[in-house]
Symmetry: C2
């Protein structure tokens, strides 16, 4: 029971997403996830607080990651460079080639339920608030901080959508940087 299980977290994640796709999120129990992974419920709860955490990660994990990258960018970096650094940090942590299949499943599961879509929107609102706070802490004015954060969340969302499309083989960072450049061009046009 308490012993170390190789790749337990990843096995649980794969089992959970397979079951969410097969039977729906609501109908899938933690017991079923653990059984499918060949592990115990207590192993599940050593890795995830609950079933929802498999889909959404620990609260504020993504927000802290993106805001942390903005805070860590060298002081003279303009907001757009901070956003690029934030997207790279996200890519390195979670949006790797090995995780693209899981991300596709996750996207389908979240899209299938209005409650999960709402939870996703609220998560992205927290991410935007954390990014705006990180910009303000760098001395960026409030209006620009809020707008830069929204652009970061839009870039993240559009890049994730494109990256998880069937057949797309480009790395997340390439897509994210291109999306960010497109958004900057749109911002320049809207600001003109």
């Amino acid at each position: 029971m308490g012993r170390w299980e190789p790749n337990a977290r990843e096995r649980l994640e794969r089992a959970a997403l397979d079951l969410f796709v097969e039977h729906g999120y609501d109908a899938t129990t933690v017991a079923a996830i653990a059984e499918r992974a060949g592990l115990t419920k207590s192993t599940f709860f050593r890795h995830f607080a609950d079933k929802r955490e498999v889909l959404f990660g620990a609260p504020d994990l993504l927000a802290d990651l993106l805001a942390g990258a903005i805070a860590a960018a060298p002081p003279p970096a303009p907001p757009a460079a901070c956003l690029a650094a934030a997207l790279d940090a996200a890519a390195a942590a979670s949006f790797t080639a090995e995780r693209r299949g899981l991300a596709r499943q996750r996207r389908a599961v979240v899209a299938s339920s209005s409650e999960l879509r709402e939870r996703e929107l609220l998560k992205l609102s927290r991410v935007a608030a954390a990014m705006a706070a990180a910009f303000r802490a760098r001395g960026t004015g409030d209006t620009t901080a809020r707008l830069a954060a929204e652009i970061g969340v839009l870039a993240f969302g559009l890049a994730f959508e494109s990256w998880t499309e069937e057949g797309n083989a480009r790395p997340f960072t390439d897509i994210a940087h291109e999306t960010l450049r497109d958004l900057q061009a749109s911002a320049a046009a809207l600001g003109a």
Copy 2:
């Protein structure tokens, strides 16, 4: 019971907001709101589907109003002019001098509860999605449509915050147009 009551909707709204501020949103019943307004529960339900609708309006009312103004702007109007028209439409419908006191109370009630704050964020997400769709319908590219919609929601939110501050006596439209210009300047800087 079924007879016409003068200003029933406004009396119910004022009674509800007073009670939400005094006793909290959760502790306030529809029966108490009707009693405070000197009206019946059935009169309440002729004006509002439920207690939540007093705070958030009918689903999609604000989204339809803002998206409708974007759709109705003359074809050559650039996105920023469409956003200004949308903010003016909102101002004319709901953000009048007579309603500023109610809006202040509403802001305090929503801020007091994490559930109500989440509902507000989800409402603004629906507004952003509706505005983006209205821009796409005008032929605006998807990236610019989404960014313009986020700028519209930011302008709306920042203007509402400022308009409902104690002591602020400027009309909503003045504040909203200034906020929009600030956001455009930020967009130009972020796009550079």
